[in-house]
């Protein structure tokens, strides 16, 4: 009870209050330490690195590093590879987000419209890709989309000669996006399901009494009331796809001819080449894109009060 009056506890009971603060910070210490070391300091340091010509070989000689200001950023945007990778990443977001959301939403609608029997089973099946290891799945994907793989076997069955998907400049990206969609639609589905179940049933009953059919109910009740969930899912997925790394790295390592290289992969490749400054600058472009996309979407989709 003594804690509920901050004005009193701060003035009159100064010593027990500050002692309590010390205890509380002891509780927080393990998390705070790891947070400082692996999130706070790295974020600030990454900004610092991005303004220098730091190389992997400089780690033992920090004094040899020069402050170069915005030079890394200028280099990035004059680099055709980086510009191409930004476009690739945009393609990933532009196709990945709507596909993932569309499939997730359709399945959530289906599961929410009175599927009693097997509902739990369907939900588990659709969610299983989310928890599955990406390296393992990517291997299966390579196996299936190989020139002699299972997908082409199926195509051969109907008389079509399938290409070598992942070696084709125009076909690799769709396959990589497909893997991303397969891996993420379960998350979208579960979030949409939670949103749908939060809509009170009597709203629909009232609408049905007024003669509104299913389509009008969907358009005038479900979609508007689901707006906060839609916003959440689209931001989550955009932020996720903007950082896409695992799928292109594992399936194609950015190839063929860079056609699937994402910004995150560029960051990784520059890091691997020892270009820590340039790599950090690229990673800050990602951070900027993530922030920008989130802000724009919150603006566009915020429910009007």
């Amino acid at each position: 009870m003594t804690t509920t009056l901050p004005g009193v506890s701060r003035g009159a009971r100064r010593s027990p209050g500050s002692r309590r603060s010390v205890v509380a910070w002891l509780f927080l210490a393990p998390f705070a330490l790891l947070f400082l070391l692996f999130t706070a300091i790295p974020t600030v340091a990454a900004l610092g690195f991005s303004l220098t010509d730091l190389r992997g070989t400089d780690l033992r000689h920090p004094l040899a590093v020069d402050f170069t200001g915005l030079e890394n950023y200028l280099r990035l945007f004059q680099d055709d590879t980086f510009v191409r990778d930004i476009l690739n990443t945009s393609v990933f977001v532009a196709f990945g987000v709507p596909l993932t959301m569309g499939i997730g939403f359709a399945l959530a609608l289906a599961l929410n419209s009175g599927i009693r029997r097997l509902g739990g089973l369907f939900r588990s099946v659709f969610f299983a890709p989310v928890v599955t290891n990406i390296v393992a799945v990517a291997l299966i994907w390579q196996y299936a989309f190989n020139a002699n793989g299972t997908v082409n076997k199926v195509l051969g069955g109907v008389g079509l000669a399938g290409p070598n998907w992942l070696d084709d400049q125009h076909l690799a990206m769709p396959v990589v996006i497909l893997l991303g969609v397969w891996r993420n639609f379960g998350t979208a589905m579960v979030l949409f399901l939670a949103g749908l179940q939060a809509i009170p049933q009597d709203v629909y009953e009232a609408a049905a009494l007024d003669g509104a059919g299913r389509w009008r109910q969907l358009r005038h009740i479900t979609l508007p009331l689901l707006m906060p969930t839609t916003l959440l899912v689209s931001v989550l997925l955009s932020v996720f796809y903007l950082q896409v790394f695992d799928e292109p790295y594992l399936l194609t390592d950015g190839g063929p001819l860079g056609s699937t290289e994402s910004v995150a992969l560029y960051t990784y490749h520059q890091f691997g080449a020892g270009q820590f400054g340039l790599s950090s600058a690229a990673s800050f472009v990602t951070l900027a894109l993530v922030t920008l996309v989130s802000l724009v979407q919150f603006r566009l989709l915020r429910p009007r009060a």
Partner: protein, 294 residues
């Protein structure tokens, strides 16, 4: 969807109402569509199972075949004999154990403090937890790597585990749970003269079972499936985790393409998670839905 709607009269009976709620008219079609989607979703899993049970000669003869002609466990036998595989498996287990332990300790203490203790800087501390959930991993991995090198932990299992040992999401889950524990319980113990640590261990933790379970499952999953960070930190094969080892093996073998070995490896990586998921899917799904809605 319009086409599937039953014509509705102005007079609505209670039977009609349940029809509205359940959408009974379209049900057979709905089930058919769901079964089709489920099969498509499961295809990769079916491929991997069927592929891993085929012998090497059979795979070479016809890589794309659907079903094994002769079911064999040969791939798994060869996998466990492969150099390094047992090591990768052990490494993955050790890293996951460290990550889970770290999360349970750090997050339960931090979550409790954020929810139940009044202290200077509480709002800032909570804001920091929320902000930490937003920072893209691609933004920090270079500097995380430099720090890990400076700590002398590059290429060690501790270095692989450390950044994941206190996930902000774990703290968030624990805080939300702690908020639901009544203050009166803790106050009563305080009046009886119990110290904060005693209250935490004797009263709060025993009540926090479900939250601890959630954190355990979630952090195990994150650690077991983590790829980009171990890929960066593990520099010699002796510290590879299973996913990194598997990826490296498959890339090194790109021209040999021993798919049998790879598919068996894929099964071993996926199996613990799928088994865990099978038993606990309700909590996974609720966990995702719950954190999303708040």
């Amino acid at each position: 969807m319009t086409a599937l709607t039953a014509p509705r009269s102005a007079e609505v009976t209670s039977a009609d109402r349940t029809a509205v709620r359940r959408g009974s008219v379209s049900r057979p079609l709905l089930y058919a569509a769901l079964v089709l989607c489920a099969l498509l979703t499961m295809l990769p899993f079916l491929w991997v199972i069927s592929g891993s049970l085929r012998g090497l000669d059979e795979i070479r003869a016809d890589p794309g075949a659907w079903l094994p002609l002769h079911v064999t466990l040969d791939n798994f036998v060869r996998l466990f004999r492969t150099e390094g595989f047992a090591r990768f498996l052990t490494n993955s287990v050790v890293v996951a154990a460290l990550v889970v332990a770290g999360n349970v300790v750090a997050a339960s203490a931090a979550g409790y403090a954020l929810a139940k203790l009044d202290f200077a800087g509480r709002r800032i501390a909570f804001a920091a937890v929320m902000a930490a959930m937003m920072v893209p991993s691609t933004t920090v991995f270079v500097t995380q790597f430099v720090i890990t090198v400076d700590l002398g932990l590059a290429d060690t299992l501790t270095g692989i585990a450390l950044p994941g040992m206190a996930l902000p999401l774990s703290v968030f889950i624990m805080r939300q749970y702690a908020l639901s524990v009544p203050d009166e319980l803790l106050e009563a113990a305080r009046i009886d003269g119990a110290g904060e640590f005693r209250i935490f261990f004797r009263i709060f933790l025993p009540l926090a079972g479900p939250a601890v379970a959630t954190i355990t499952i979630m952090s195990f999953l994150v650690s077991w499936n983590n790829f980009i960070w171990p890929l960066i930190v593990a520099q010699s094969t002796s510290s590879y985790t299973l996913p990194v080892g598997l990826a490296a093996t498959s890339q090194a073998a790109a021209h040999v393409t021993d798919y049998g070995l790879m598919l068996a490896g894929a099964i071993v990586v996926m199996l613990p998670v799928l088994v865990l998921f099978l038993f606990l899917q309700r909590y996974f799904v609720q966990g995702i839905a719950g954190t999303g809605m708040r």
